[in-house]
C-alpha cells in the first residue's frame, strides 16, 4: 500500500467519523437545551412558589438552640389548655404525637408528658399551602414550638386529654427533629394486652420496650408510673420526718456481706475485694447505737441472685427504716404500718389521675387496706393454709405460691391487700434476729405483704453483743469479718427494730402490675445491663 492510499483511506474514515460526531453533537445540544429549559422551568416554578408563599416566615426548622437569645416568650403547658383560655393566642412547646394531612388541612396531636391536645394547620389567611405541607411532613416525636389560637370545640375530642379545645396554628417551628423511623410506636406500647388483637394491631413486648426505654418512658403509662413512684418516695420521707426520723446515707461498698454471703456482688477494691451492699442493715443499726434513735435511708441495694422472675432485680431502691423502741417491738411494727398507710392514703388522694392512667392499660382492683393494719401470727397463717388443703410444716418458710395463696385467703376473710405476718420461725431468719422469749423456735420478726407478695422484711434485732455472737456462731458466720458490727453493741445499745422495703415492688403491687421491670426506670437483672 502507498502512502497516498493510506491517507485517502483515513480521510474517508475521518469523513465518516465526523458525520457521526456531528449527529452526536446535535443530539447532545438538543439534550442540553432541553435540560436548560427544564431547569429554567423548575427555577421559575420555585421562584413563583417562593413568591407565592406569603407564610414562609411562619414555619421552618429553627436553628439549633445554643442559648443565643433570651426570648421573652411564655410557653403554656398543655394541661393548662382549657376553655378558660379560649381565643387567646399562646405559645407552646410539645412533641408531635401524630400528624394527619387531609387536603388543605393538617391535624396534629401535640403531646406534653401525659397530656395531649389537637392542633390544626389549615390553608387560609394565616397559613399557606406550603406551610400545611411542611406541618404534615414533620416526623413523629419531633419537638416543635407552636403559636396558636385556642378555640373551643363543639364536639369533645375523645382521643385527647384536652377534650374541650383545639389549637389553630399560626406558626410552627421544629426545635428538634426526630428520625423518621421509630423503634416502637407509642400507641402500640400503651395498648392493653389483647385489645388490638381483633383489629390486628400490634402490642410491644416487654424486652423491646426496655431496649428502647427512652421512648417507652414517654408513654402515658410510664409517665404515670414514675410520677407515682416519686410520690411514694416523697410520702415515705414526709411521713417519717414528721415522726421525728433522721435521714441517713450509708456506704454501698462494704467489707462484709450483711445477710448471707451467697447473693452478693464482689467488686475489686485496690489490692483487696469488697462487696456491694445487700442492705444498709448493719449501718442503720450502728446509727441506732450512735444515738440517732430513729433513722431511715433511701438508696440502691444490690442482690446477686440469679433469679429471672417477675419480682427480682439485681439492683433496686431500698426504703429502710430502723428505730429504737421502749419495751415491745410492736412499737416498730406500728410505726412502719402507719407509714405505709400514710403512703397508701397519699397515693389514693393525690395520684388518682396517675392510677387511672395506668389502669387503662393494666386494669386492676383498687388497693385495699385496713386501719389499724391487720397483724397475723405465723402459726395462724399456717393454720389458714392447712385449712385450705396446703401441706406444710409449722416451721417451714412460706413458698412463693403459698404466700400468694395466703394473700388471697386473707383478702377473702379480712378484705385487705396489706397485712403483717408476725413471729416467723427463727430458723428461716438472719442471725441478728431476736428470738421469741416465749418460744425459742420462733422470733420477733415480721414480713409485710401487698396483694399477697412480700414487700418488707423486718425484725427486732439482737442488741446484746453476747447473744449476737452466739447467734452468729450458730449461723457459722466468720466473727472476724463482723467484728466492727458486733463491737458497736458493747458500749450500751438500745433495743431496736426495723425493716426494708423495695420501692419498685411497692409501686408494682400498689398498681397491680405484673412485672417489677415496669416500675424500674432502667431495670437491672441477670440478663440486662443496658440501657
Amino acid at each position: 500500500m502507498t502512502k497516498e492510499e493510506v491517507q485517502g483511506a483515513t480521510e474517508e474514515e475521518q469523513q465518516a467519523q465526523s458525520k457521526k460526531a456531528q449527529k452526536k453533537q446535535q443530539k447532545e445540544a438538543e439534550k442540553a437545551a432541553k435540560k436548560a429549559e427544564k431547569q429554567a422551568k423548575l427555577a421559575a416554578e420555585q421562584q413563583t412558589t417562593e413568591e407565592d408563599d406569603f407564610a414562609k416566615d411562619q414555619y421552618g426548622v429553627s436553628p439549633m438552640v445554643q442559648s443565643q437569645q433570651k426570648l421573652d416568650r411564655a410557653l403554656v403547658r398543655v394541661q393548662d389548655l382549657t376553655p378558660e383560655r379560649a381565643d387567646q393566642l399562646i405559645w407552646l412547646r410539645a412533641r408531635v404525637h401524630t400528624s394527619r394531612a387531609k387536603g388543605k388541612q393538617c391535624f396534629l396531636v401535640l403531646r406534653q408528658q401525659q397530656f395531649n391536645v389537637q392542633a390544626l394547620v389549615a390553608v387560609g389567611d394565616r397559613a399557606s399551602k406550603q406551610m400545611v405541607k411542611f406541618a404534615a411532613n414533620i416526623t413523629k416525636e419531633s419537638i416543635v414550638d407552636v403559636e396558636a389560637a385556642v378555640r373551643k370545640v363543639e364536639q369533645k375530642i375523645e382521643s385527647c386529654t384536652q377534650q374541650d379545645v383545639e389549637l389553630h396554628v399560626e406558626r410552627i417551628f421544629v426545635i428538634s427533629q426526630a428520625e423518621p423511623r421509630l423503634p416502637l410506636q407509642l400507641d402500640d406500647a400503651v395498648r392493653p394486652d389483647g385489645e388490638g388483637e381483633e383489629e390486628g394491631r400490634a402490642t410491644v413486648n416487654q424486652d423491646t420496650k426496655l431496649d428502647n426505654r427512652v421512648i417507652d418512658l414517654r408513654t402515658t403509662t410510664s409517665q404515670a408510673i414514675f410520677r407515682l413512684q416519686s410520690g411514694v418516695c416523697q410520702l415515705f420521707r414526709d411521713t417519717l420526718t414528721n415522726k421525728g426520723f433522721v435521714e441517713i446515707q450509708t456506704p454501698k461498698i462494704i467489707s462484709a456481706a450483711s445477710e448471707g454471703g451467697a447473693n452478693v456482688f464482689t467488686v475489686s477494691y485496690f489490692k483487696t475485694s469488697a462487696y456491694l451492699a445487700q442492705s444498709p442493715q448493719l449501718y442503720k443499726q450502728m446509727c441506732i447505737c450512735a444515738d440517732f434513735d430513729k433513722v431511715f435511708c433511701v438508696g440502691p441495694v444490690f442482690r446477686a441472685e440469679d433469679s429471672n422472675t417477675h419480682r427480682h432485680l439485681t439492683e433496686f431502691v431500698g426504703l429502710d427504716i430502723e428505730m429504737a423502741f421502749n419495751y415491745h417491738y410492736h412499737e416498730v411494727i406500728d410505726s412502719i404500718t402507719e407509714t405505709m398507710v400514710q403512703i397508701f392514703k397519699g397515693l389514693r388522694d393525690n395520684f388518682q389521675t396517675e392510677i387511672q392512667t395506668v389502669n387503662k392499660q393494666f386494669p386492676s382492683e383498687p388497693f385495699k387496706f385496713l386501719e389499724p393494719t391487720l397483724r397475723l401470727e405465723y402459726t395462724e397463717a399456717v393454720a389458714m393454709l392447712h385449712e385450705a388443703g396446703v401441706e406444710m410444716g409449722d416451721e417451714e418458710d412460706l413458698s412463693t405460691p403459698n404466700e400468694k395463696l395466703l394473700g388471697r385467703l386473707v383478702k377473702e376473710k379480712y378484705d385487705t391487700d396489706f397485712y403483717v405476718l408476725d413471729k416467723y420461725p427463727l430458723a428461716v431468719r438472719p442471725f441478728y434476729t431476736m428470738p421469741d422469749p416465749n418460744n425459742p423456735k420462733y422470733s420477733n420478726s415480721y414480713d409485710m405483704f401487698m396483694r399477697g407478695e412480700e414487700i418488707l422484711s423486718g425484725a427486732q434485732r439482737v442488741h446484746d453483743a453476747q447473744l449476737l455472737t452466739e447467734r452468729a456462731m450458730h449461723h457459722q458466720i466468720d466473727l472476724e469479718k463482723i467484728k466492727a458490727y458486733v463491737d458497736s453493741f458493747r458500749y450500751g445499745a438500745p433495743p431496736h427494730g426495723g425493716g426494708g422495703i423495695g420501692l419498685e415492688r411497692v409501686c408494682m403491687l400498689y398498681l397491680g402490675l405484673h412485672n417489677v421491670r415496669q416500675t424500674s426506670m432502667f431495670p437491672r437483672d441477670p440478663k440486662r445491663l443496658t440501657p
Partner: protein, 173 residues
C-alpha cells in the same frame, strides 16, 4: 385401682361377704369368678352386677332416660379416664364442669352408680389441682365435694379440701 374401687363399692352397698377378684391382661381388667355362672369381666359390668346383687337397682336409674344417662357416664368413666395426657385432663375437667353447671348429680336429681364410679375415677385428677384451678372448675368441685361427703361413698380415698368461698374474684393475681 379398680379392685379397691369395687371393694369400696361393696361396702357402700352393704354387701356382707366380700367377693374375690382377679385381674386379666396388661391393663389389669378386673374379673369376678361367680360361683353359679361364667366369670364377669370389666369394672362397669361387675359394678352393675353388685348393685343388682344388693337389690339397689335404683342406683342404675329409675326411668328409661336416667338408665340411659347412667350407662353413658359409666362408659365415659371407663373409656375416657385412662392414660391421660395433660390436654386430656383439661378437656375432661372442662366437659364435666360445664355438664354439672345445672345438676346436682350426673343423672340430674338422682344419686346413681355413675356418681360413685366417676368420683373414684376423677379423684386422682382433683387431688392435683391448685386452689385456683379448683375454683376454675367450680361446678365440678362442688359436685366432687358433695360426693366425698355423701354417706358411705369416700371409703379408701383421702378427703380433698374444697373451699366454699371464692378467693380469686379479681382478674389479676
Amino acid at each position: 385401682m379398680a379392685l379397691r374401687e369395687l371393694s369400696s363399692l361393696e361396702k357402700y352397698l352393704g354387701l356382707k361377704k366380700p367377693n374375690k377378684y382377679s385381674t386379666q391382661g396388661e391393663k389389669k381388667v378386673p374379673v369376678l369368678q361367680n360361683s353359679n355362672g361364667p366369670p364377669l369381666v370389666g369394672l362397669v359390668t361387675i359394678a352393675c352386677y353388685l348393685v343388682k346383687d344388693a337389690k339397689r337397682s335404683e342406683l342404675l336409674g329409675d326411668s328409661a332416660e336416667s338408665r340411659a344417662v347412667v350407662q353413658q357416664w359409666l362408659e365415659y368413666r371407663v373409656t375416657r379416664l385412662n392414660n391421660l395426657t395433660k390436654d386430656d385432663v383439661k378437656t375432661i375437667l372442662k366437659e364435666l364442669n360445664l355438664y354439672l353447671q345445672d345438676k346436682a348429680y350426673l343423672a340430674e336429681n338422682q344419686f346413681t352408680l355413675a356418681d360413685i364410679l366417676m368420683y373414684y375415677g376423677i379423684q386422682p385428677l382433683i387431688v392435683d389441682l391448685a386452689i385456683q384451678e379448683k375454683e376454675q372448675y367450680v361446678n365440678l368441685t362442688r359436685w366432687f365435694d358433695h360426693m366425698q361427703h355423701y354417706p358411705g361413698v369416700r371409703r379408701h380415698l383421702p378427703p380433698v379440701v374444697v373451699l366454699r368461698n371464692r378467693i380469686y374474684t379479681s382478674r389479676h393475681h
